[in-house]
């Protein structure tokens, strides 16, 4: 037990210790005041701009910034779709996989471009090495950089005044990649290889099994139809397997940016539960650190760029408090295990000899503590990598990931998207406080007016609309219901989770749901797109509106937004809005299931 607390405290301690240096570095990068360590790369950066025809001094209005961002993303969709459809003709396909189906390619392209990385496919039997590294991994970088750029644009909206522009999208994206994402990923990838994450271009490795395995498969007639015996039952034949075919690939390079960019799309189907993606507890620790390090750092970046680091600490404090609360619920629920197992003579008690608890869908090396911790991190952020199967969590343990996604992933959140989401909540919080005391709300010296609140409302209201609407549609249609895997309330949770994860650009799943169907590929494809860009565009509009405003000096009537009171106000706003939107739906899923569990 003590060890569990130590592991969690160590994680939070290391994370928070990194927040300031990381945030300071990012602020320097985006302000163009590069530290000496990376200044040698400036000529490379400038060469980039020359080739691209970008004037790095030329800033953009928010509309132009949004247009550039959407163009960049559309190119990504085309590239990833094309690579999947043509992979059978392209190199680096040692297993000879065929082209991916059109609906799955569409879904995967949108999903990776929007930083969702929802996976309806099985990586190790679908995607060639080229598709993984040139299509999917590249979007891991690009979608992360896009999110960071939008967050920086919003910060500039607060930091500057009476200006029409919010920065240059091409500069922000290029700097995000070459100074932040690429160097850290390279170091992280090599650390992961040192733990056993594979990195090669070899064909799958066959090894002999110590004990051969066998299974029954349906016998087929000459034309490939299943044979039936006289009474109409399928005829099966026994297949004996003496070898194991071990899937390999350039995994570490993709794994590093998958976590650092809060993407979460696994190279393999089992994602970070797979021993080749996440082989040791240290690899797991580094993965969890990578997920939160940029979101935590960006809070400090925000404070530094608006000229008052206390503002950033207040945001980070709100996030950390919310995170610890959700983590406690997940750990408690999973450690308590499944009461039905105990009656069968199964020992779920934690001891020095075993982690105990609900081990269905979890890995021995991570046990309960690191599985529940990872699940809470990956859904607080919009990462969506999983080191344990969320579908098999206890009802309350599974409620935590679901609820965190539905709150908009503002608890640390995705790279960039977490901070801009939380800042939108901060705008809403000062607005609510202003209503209560009858004053014009202001945040960081900016008057919050009708247009700003409209944009903030869009960001807050669009996700529940699509999540709840999509879930309602899916559970009414046969095409939606037929993919559900688990019976009862849990089956409803699977559908609710799917739409929450898609709109929240998370990408984790209650993976029992058979989502690789034309219905889900299409519906969730649109959900990830709207969940991303219908929020980013209003955020940029908000940035533009704020940048153009005058800065008003603080007066006795101004509410301080770095105080403990503001931290709790912000937490309250996040929880209140989330509860109003989602409690009824959650009641039908995990809550009913919990009450039914004996």
């Amino acid at each position: 037990m003590i060890n569990g607390y130590v592991q969690i405290a160590l994680y939070l301690g290391v994370l928070l210790a990194f927040a300031k240096p990381m945030g300071w570095y990012m602020a320097r990068v985006y302000e163009g005041k590069l530290p000496a360590l990376v200044r040698w790369m400036v000529p490379i950066e400038n060469l980039f701009y020359r080739l691209c025809g970008v004037d790095s001094k030329q800033e953009m209005r928010w509309t132009q910034y949004a247009l550039a961002m959407i163009l960049f993303s559309l190119l990504g969709v085309l590239a990833v779709y094309g690579l999947q459809r043509l992979q059978d003709l392209l190199p680096l396909n040692p297993q000879g996989f065929g082209a991916v189906t059109p609906d799955s390619s569409f879904n995967t392209a949108l999903s990776f471009v929007t930083n969702t990385n929802w996976q309806g496919y099985v990586g190790e039997t679908t995607m060639s090495y080229l598709t993984q590294m040139l299509g999917l991994a590249v979007q891991n970088f690009f979608s992360a950089a896009t999110g960071m750029a939008v967050a920086i644009a919003l910060i500039r909206g607060f930091a500057r005044h009476t200006l029409e522009t919010i920065g240059n999208f091409w500069v922000d994206v290029t700097r995000s990649i070459i100074y932040i994402l690429l160097p850290i990923s390279t170091v992280l990838a090599l650390l992961l290889v040192s733990q056993g994450v594979v990195q090669n271009f070899s064909a799958y490795q066959n090894v002999p099994l110590v004990e051969s395995a066998s299974y029954d498969q349906p016998k087929l007639d000459a034309s490939g139809n299943p044979l039936k015996d006289a009474s109409g039952n399928a005829v099966t034949e026994k297949v004996v397997v003496k070898e194991q075919s071990i899937a390999l690939g350039p995994v570490a390079s993709q794994e590093a940016i998958k976590q650092l960019g809060t993407n979460g799309g696994g190279f393999f189907n089992a994602n970070s539960a797979h021993p080749y993606e996440n082989p040791t507890p240290l690899a797991n620790f580094l993965a969890m650190l990578a997920i939160f390090i940029i979101p935590a750092g960006l809070c400090y970046t925000f404070g530094a760029m608006v000229g008052d680091t206390r503002q950033g600490w207040a945001i980070l404090a709100s996030m950390t408090i919310l995170f610890v609360g959700f983590l406690a619920v997940a750990e408690y629920a999973e450690l308590n295990g499944n009461p039905a197992f105990t009656a069968l003579g199964v020992d779920q008690t934690a001891s020095a000899m075993q982690s105990g608890g609900n081990m269905e869908g979890k890995e021995t090396r991570f046990g309960i503590v690191n599985s529940a911790l990872f699940a809470t991190i990956t859904t607080a952020a919009s990462c969506g990598a999983v080191n344990a199967m969320h579908d098999s969590f206890t009802p309350l343990g599974g409620l935590v990931p679901l609820a965190q996604i539905q709150l908009g992933e503002v608890i640390f959140g995705g790279v960039g998207s977490g901070l801009y989401g939380m800042l939108v909540y901060a705008v809403l919080a000062v607005f609510l406080a202003g209503l209560m005391i009858g004053r014009t709300p202001e945040y960081l010296g900016k008057k919050i007016e009708a247009f700003d609140i409209k944009m903030a409302s869009l960001v807050i209201l669009i996700p529940p609309l699509i999540i709840l609407g999509g879930t309602a549609l899916a559970v009414m249609l046969e095409a939606g219901k037929s993919s559900v895997f688990n019976p009862g309330a849990h089956g409803f949770s699977e559908v609710l989770y799917a739409f929450s994860s898609a709109v929240g650009n998370n990408g984790s799943e209650f993976a029992g749901i058979g989502a690789n169907t034309p219905f889900y590929n299409t519906a969730l494809g649109f959900a990830v797109w709207f969940g991303r860009f219908w929020l980013m565009v209003p955020v940029l509009a908000l940035a533009g509106s704020l940048a153009a405003k005058k800065r008003i000096p603080a007066s006795v009537g101004s509410m301080a937004t770095h105080t403990q009171m503001f931290v709790w106000l912000l937490i309250g706003t996040v929880l209140l809005v989330g509860a109003l939107n989602f409690v009824p739906a959650l009641a039908l899923g995990p809550v009913v299931e919990h009450l039914n569990m004996k």
Binding site: I177, L190, V197, V239, N284, M389, S392
Partner: protein, 190 residues
């Protein structure tokens, strides 16, 4: 619109080459030179031939071996080309049936043993490839393996203890036993 088209296309191509070709090749190059064993799958090599991977579990059902975690991969357990868990929900009757059957199989293989069964031994792992079991799960099976192989239980316990990996740096993760390595060692001494 057109004004942004050139930067969009050119930066897309340049950054794709950097992150999609340069970066993975650099990482592959360094890994293959500095740590080829890890980068190629931590294979266990005997007499020049790979006999398994220390990171990829295998399935065992013979009482003379320590059994691995149950695996929900299809069509056979521990299939590394179809990794994944069962995704059975906590209240799904199919999960209860599966656990019941696994409890029964363990009891049948070791009739006298009435100890409670460690949970990891009757629940499917997340990857379907989990190479480890808990020390408790190894201890539960120890008497059976010793009996079938005519080994002194204490000598076997010593062998198992040698295969327990503690928490990393004494803190991270959970103690565990690598099943394939343990069984290969058993076959080697026996």
């Amino acid at each position: 619109m057109l004004k942004e088209l050139r930067p969009a296309i050119v930066s897309f191509l340049l950054l794709t080459m950097l992150t999609g070709i340069g970066y993975p090749l650099l990482v592959t190059g360094i890994s293959q030179v500095v740590m080829p064993d890890k980068a190629n799958g931590s294979l266990i090599v005997k007499e020049g031939k790979p006999v398994g991977s220390s990171l990829i579990g295998q399935s065992f059902s013979d009482p003379k071996y320590f059994w691995s975690r149950p695996s929900a991969t299809s069509p056979m357990p521990n299939n590394p080309t179809a990794s994944g868990g069962s995704n059975l929900g906590p209240t799904n009757p199919a999960l209860m049936d599966a656990v019941k059957a696994r409890v029964q199989a363990l009891r049948d293989a070791d009739p006298g043993n009435q100890q409670p069964i460690p949970v990891d031994l009757v629940t499917a792992s997340g990857s379907g490839l989990d190479p480890h079991i808990s020390p408790a799960a190894a201890e539960y099976q120890l008497a059976r393996v010793a009996r079938v192989r005519n080994l002194n239980p204490n000598a076997l316990r010593k062998l198992v203890a040698e295969h327990i990996e503690g928490r990393q740096f004494g803190i991270l993760g959970e103690p565990r036993v690598n099943v394939l390595e343990l069984n290969l060692a058993l076959d080697a001494v026996h």
